[in-house]
Point group: C2
Chain length 246, copies 2
Amino acid sequence: MAKNQLSERDYLQSYNIHNYDVPLTSVDITIFTVLDNALNVLLVKRAQHPALGKWALPGGFIDLKKDRTLEHTAQRKLKEKTGVRTSYLEQVASFGSKQRDPRGWSVTVAYFALIDAAEIQLTHDERSEEVAWVPVKKVLNSTKLAFDHNAILERCYERLQGKVQYTSLPVNLLPEEFTLSELQSTFEIILDSTIEKKSFRRRILDADILQETGNMRTGSNRPAKLYRVQNQGENFMFSRNIEGPR
Amino acid sequence: MAKNQLSERDYLQSYNIHNYDVPLTSVDITIFTVLDNALNVLLVKRAQHPALGKWALPGGFIDLKKDRTLEHTAQRKLKEKTGVRTSYLEQVASFGSKQRDPRGWSVTVAYFALIDAAEIQLTHDERSEEVAWVPVKKVLNSTKLAFDHNAILERCYERLQGKVQYTSLPVNLLPEEFTLSELQSTFEIILDSTIEKKSFRRRILDADILQETGNMRTGSNRPAKLYRVQNQGENFMFSRNIEGPR
DNA sequence: ATCAAATAGTGGCACTGAGACACTAAGCTG
DNA sequence: CAGCTTAGTGTCTCAGTGCCACTATTTGAT
């Protein structure tokens, strides 16, 4: 073939993506937080076609100029909605099909993020989209999101629940200092089940994830030790699944 | 904005993807098999620019006409190289950046597949690419694959090793009937470590994944019971990690 | 002061599943 | 029949967890 006799340079010179049929490619983020003892997710009300007026996960197209990597795109989206820069961010899966977007074949790369709601205020962004925290349960039970965002949310939720079985991910939903009870409660909210106190404490403490800050949380009863994450934030493994008492 | 006063129909009518800067989007597959007591991966020698002449994971662009979903694209690629239709196929992650492809911003969705090498013969395909099984270890140690395919392979390998800790995935690398020793050996090859025989058998058997076929594998010593997968193939969970003896 | 309520945190036993490893079982070969 | 090889088992130990009752420390009401 003639093509193969071209040098790579000449080939690249003559290459023009606009000559090909390519899918739309975007990034969507499921941003979780804990609010009022429930796991919430950040939704935006679409201010543009398609699916105008519907609630959706925040997301959008890759900016070929500004974004260097997919993760960068995700971080940019996160920042636009929440103002948060540092946060736990993990790629979950990509969803692509001919059907999922009325504009045609499209692919979206889904991420999930964990943030401490207390630290941020939602950003009504320039396109004046509404932004809101909504309980995950409520969304899954009764909200029809734009595109296939229900399916994406479900997958992110599954992933979160799955990882919480054997990692300390939930620390990312709390402020820097927290008590073991607060942490346990966060685990319970995500797993939607109770955890036996002693087992939980043993596991967390034995895993050497946390370090005492020396401070105490005081309230209307016995004060509790405050902890912070040990090894610069990253998640850490346990040896077994967590199960609640029968 | 005027745009918001359009009906969705009019908006879609006027929408043309060629007016936007979009990334290239493709699908790549890491096809694993066990050959000569080693985990092998299928590589193709690129017959086209870019990276002409380099070894790469099989993959390619989404066919917007023929492919209905990403998974369909992956299956098509798998079929083109191996002729295999049914096989374990799992999406691993997407890799996207400005740098990874010299043609510009590109995203690839990586899958991995497990097949029984005995059942297939490699297809020297129409573009006359060379196709070969190569030991994973060898590739990771000493082969510079095209694009970021080394990183993709590593991630797929990690995912495989990870899942083998708590699922019965390796059954997908074996023929329909197999002995427990063969299965154990497959686990060991993937994990690159030995597993204690009794523990392995207890776990697999207690997990209720397998069913005896009634047949025996005979050889130059005591015959072994043959098993097949119980519940139509899907993987199944164990309760703990597998660890080799010290 | 004292006591109750509430949450923090611990002691300690039972159970389960995995590691270890020696043992038995059943075929083949010479 | 002895000896090799691989299949498959018996059983002890040990670690991590479930369970649940117990102690500890605070606030606030009486």
